[in-house]
């Protein structure tokens, strides 16, 4: 059952299909949604734009029933509705396609769709189901083979299945969360056509994205979120990149201090060199394509980009967690392509991940024990039969003094706050005079004090000749700390500058894919 057709006008004379009024949600320490008002009309594609952490995901999850708003209302055709669970959302005609698709790989396309059909008969009628699928898929150009197993079809086709699921469950509002992240260019075009057809039939579509091109090409209206607030809404006709980028990123970067570099020239050999490194994509990850990167001693190379454009893969490749399908990795001039993590660490590579709890610490072990994990051999005595915890303690305390951290050695790691945990990880990684540090979202989720402390630690390391790869979503941090800045988009490096040569607008544009050749990547 599709909604009544509207004219091609994006704003119909009726009221909005879905309206959010004053929706507010906060988590401990962070205001994820701040009194957001939003109107979505039938027959429009409404783009929701914003950086990571701007609150797009949270807002949509509230709309879809995963979270409960602290304040505010959701109105369906003008009347308030209560959405406490995804079931309620579905009953209200709201459907969402997530980034990690909700499909069962060993089931066929038809079975996956059947699972979500609201009026499925007790005895399945495969022919009938197939007929329904084919009818809708032909109408909206969402062609898939109903008999194919989901594990055998491409990600683009899997996405089509997700959309078909929604259409066949009588959804009237479709929320698409970063759908083009995993699509090839021609698949992106196909998706735009699908969205256009749906729009003409009166469906409302919310497109969550950070890509400027998509926004400007296929949306009717654009809302920009920043730090949980609605920064602005405009018609497509009124929009251009500069205005949108200005809304997305903090306009004025006050207090921007560019650290004076003590001009050590590039006469030194690079610590790390990646030559044409390409990786293989795992599921919904992003593959790196032809990365060329050099990191010299005593410099911080900042990596800007919206999360999900290859940052995780870049870190993993340098550390040794991920294999290079093509290309080479050189450490201090030696070929270390596809060598083990242990080799990299023994050579002085340190890693500070974005999620210290799940990626770098063993929760039930004490801080002291966690400290020794990267260097167990060094602290082992009597051939491994005992550990010299005093030595660990001494090293840790020395580094702590140098960095100005305080650390509770005997507390279990899981009892530490996020900030303290990150401090612990930084402490550990800096303790053994690393020569190369990979810092991934160093200050994400940290309170101000901890963030500053972490940044200072990095600067201190740089002063002593360490090379650092700093990945961050905080442009201010990147501009302040980096000696060189690169921008990752779609698994490629799309820009490389010195911070003083550029500004946030240019970086912001590159982060959102502007200026990239149409059809080259997505």
């Amino acid at each position: 059952m599709k909604p009544t057709s509207n004219s091609n006008d994006s704003q119909s004379t009726q009221g909005p299909l879905i309206a959010l009024r004053g929706v507010t949600k906060s988590f401990p320490g962070v205001m994820a949604s701040d009194h957001v008002d939003l109107d979505i009309y039938s027959g429009e594609v409404h783009a929701l734009l914003g950086e990571n952490g701007a609150g797009k995901s949270v807002l949509m999850k509230i709309l879809y029933g995963f979270y409960h708003a602290d304040e505010g209302q959701i109105l369906l055709n003008g009347a308030p509705v209560s959405i406490q669970s995804p079931n309620d959302a579905r009953n209200a005609g709201i459907g969402m396609v997530f980034q990690d698709l909700n499909l069962i790989p060993v089931f066929s396309v038809a079975e996956n769709i059947a699972l979500f059909l609201p009026n499925l008969k007790a005895v399945l009628n495969p022919k009938e189901i197939e007929r329904q699928i084919i009818e809708i898929s032909h109408r909206y150009n969402l062609k898939v083979d109903p008999h194919a197993l989901v594990s055998q079809i491409s990600i683009g086709e899997q996405q089509k299945v997700e959309i078909l699921k929604l259409l066949l469950s009588d959804a009237r509002l479709l929320i698409l969360d970063e759908p083009t992240r995993v699509l090839a260019p021609h698949e992106v075009e196909a998706l735009f056509v699908v969205m256009d057809n749906l729009r003409k039939d009166g469906y409302a579509i919310i497109l969550i994205t950070h890509k400027m091109r998509e926004v400007l090409e296929c949306s009717d209206r654009i809302s920009v979120l920043r730090s949980g607030r609605l920064a602005g809404t405009m018609l497509r006709a009124e929009a251009n990149e500069d205005r949108l980028v200005a809304l997305m990123f903090e306009k004025a970067l006050t207090g921007l201090k560019i650290q004076p570099k003590d001009g050590t020239g590039k006469a030194l050999e690079p610590l790390l060199e990646l030559q044409d490194v390409t990786t293989h994509r795992e599921g919904i990850g992003t593959e790196l394509k032809g990365i060329d990167l050099k990191i010299y001693p005593g410099e911080i190379v900042g990596v800007a980009g919206v999360s999900g454009n290859g940052q995780k893969e870049l870190c993993d490749v340098v550390l040794g967690m991920e294999w290079c399908k093509k290309g080479r990795k050189l450490l201090y001039g030696n070929n270390r392509t596809n060598h083990s993590i242990q080799t990299m660490r023994n050579d002085g590579v340190a890693f500070i991940p974005e999620n210290p709890l799940s990626m770098a610490s063993v929760p039930f072990m004490t801080v002291l024990e966690n400290m020794a994990l990267t260097n167990t051999r060094r602290y082992a005595r009597q051939g491994g039969f005992s550990m010299d915890w005093d030595a660990v303690k001494a090293d840790v305390e020395e580094t702590a003094k140098r960095l100005g951290f305080a650390v509770a050695l005997y507390a279990p790691a899981k009892s530490l706050s996020g900030g303290n945990l990150q401090r612990m990880v930084i402490l550990r990684e800096m303790t053994h005079a690393p020569r190369l540090i990979i810092a991934s979202y160093l200050t994400r989720g940290l309170d101000v004090k901890s963030a500053i402390a972490a940044q200072q630690a990095l600067v201190q390391a740089r002063e002593s000749g360490v090379g650092i790869l700093l990945i961050s979503e905080d442009l201010e941090e990147l501009f302040t700390l980096s000696d060189r800045l690169i921008v990752l988009y779609g698994g490629k490096i799309v820009g490389e500058f010195k911070p003083e040569e550029t500004d946030i607008y240019e970086v912001g544009r590159l982060m959102t894919g502007h200026g990239i050749q149409h059809g080259e990547n997505s």
């Binding site: 083990s340 023994n346 799940s358 929760p363 020794a372 039969f385």
Partner: protein
């Protein structure tokens, strides 16, 4: 000071909880006995008197405890790195078979040479049987639980084949000839408690020591606690998975050797009767902790040994004691909440 008080109160809490759980289990079992027309009170009295009331009874409990102690370790060690070794049954079997080969082949050697050979053979057999699932898991191909279960079924068939085909005694096709005295583990003080007890206690102590103090224990605990963090810290996951699985198998194999050499003095078909599974359950109940394993295997041994007497005096088939065992397990697995606990 507050920390020690905390620790004591936690131990007290746990002790009370376990006590209550056992009481609940005994109550339920008593109920079942009643339903079938038996006197529960008398049965319980018999159970405890026969096992704890006499030196002989007590020694029998220890004898029953020995193999389960070791098979529990065979599960607890791999569990520390996240491996589920339910193949103790099969590893036990093959270990016993290897040791038996040694006993039959080197009959003329003196005990102080023969026994160590048998010990090594037993551990080798168990380790080999565990290597297959360990390797397959390390390369990410198959789940070790399924493979160990299948191998459990294969092991007794292989051992049976060896007995029937090559080793059986002239009089009896289901078992080998009795081992020569040199192949028997010595016993203590006229009881049936054999050297296997020392093996078990030594292994237990080693397990505790290694996990707490050594470098490998630290790395293993890291793998078990957060495999991704361990990997990113440079710890070799694959290596540990294979080696630890083999060590677990070796322990089970040792238990098998101890049973045939110390308890039976002969290899017979189906000598195990669930020792491997019992070890799995004990390790599970004890949370993989050495002290817990010691206590749990003792408690289970009491139940099992007591069952013998119930059979004689109460006219109950021996199998009935399994009910008490099972109910105890049910209660512990169901994790009942007895009091309202204030969440810390």
């Amino acid at each position: 000071m507050a920390k020690i008080a905390d620790m004591y109160s936690k131990i007290l809490n746990d002790a009370v909880r376990y006590l209550l759980m056992f009481l609940l289990a005994f109550l339920l079992f008593g109920l079942i006995l009643l339903i079938f027309g038996k006197d529960p009170i008398q049965s319980y009295k018999d159970l405890f008197i026969s096992t704890l009331g006499s030196t002989y009874g007590f020694s029998e409990v220890i004898v029953a405890m020995i193999p389960m102690l070791i098979t529990a370790l065979a599960v607890a060690l791999p569990w520390r790195v996240g491996l589920i070794n339910i193949g103790g049954e099969g590893q036990l079997c093959i270990g016993a078979a290897f040791a038996t080969w040694g006993a039959l082949t080197f009959q003329n050697l003196p005990a102080w040479i023969l026994l160590p050979i048998m010990i090594i053979l037993g551990m080798l057999g168990g380790a080999l049987w565990a290597f297959i699932p360990g390797y397959l898991k390390a390369i990410g191909l198959v789940n070790e639980t399924i493979i160990t279960l299948l191998l459990n079924s294969v092991a007794p068939l292989v051992v049976g084949f060896l007995i029937f085909g090559f080793w059986h005694s002239p009089m009896d096709t289901v078992k080998t000839a009795n081992f020569v005295p040199a192949a028997l583990l010595p016993t203590f003080f006229g009881t049936r408690i054999h050297l296997g007890l020392i093996f078990g206690l030594v292994l237990l102590a080693l397990f505790w020591f290694v996990m707490k103090y050594t470098r490998w224990g630290l790395e293993m605990r890291a793998i078990g606690g957060n495999p991704q963090a361990a990997r990113r810290s440079g710890i070799s996951l694959k290596g540990y998975l294979i080696v630890v699985m083999c060590i677990g198998g070796a322990a089970a194999g040792l238990a098998g050797m101890a049973q045939v050499s110390g308890f039976y003095g002969v290899l017979l078909l189906n000598f195990s009767m669930g020792l491997g599974y019992m070890g799995f359950l004990i390790s599970w109940l004890a949370g993989g902790q050495p002290l817990g394993i010691f206590l749990m295997s003792f408690v289970v041994a009491i139940i099992i040994t007591g069952g013998n007497l119930l059979q004689l005096t109460r006219g109950l088939p021996y199998a009935v004691i399994n009910i008490l065992l099972a109910i105890t397990l049910f209660v512990v697995l169901a994790r009942p909440v007895f009091f309202e606990r204030k969440k810390a």
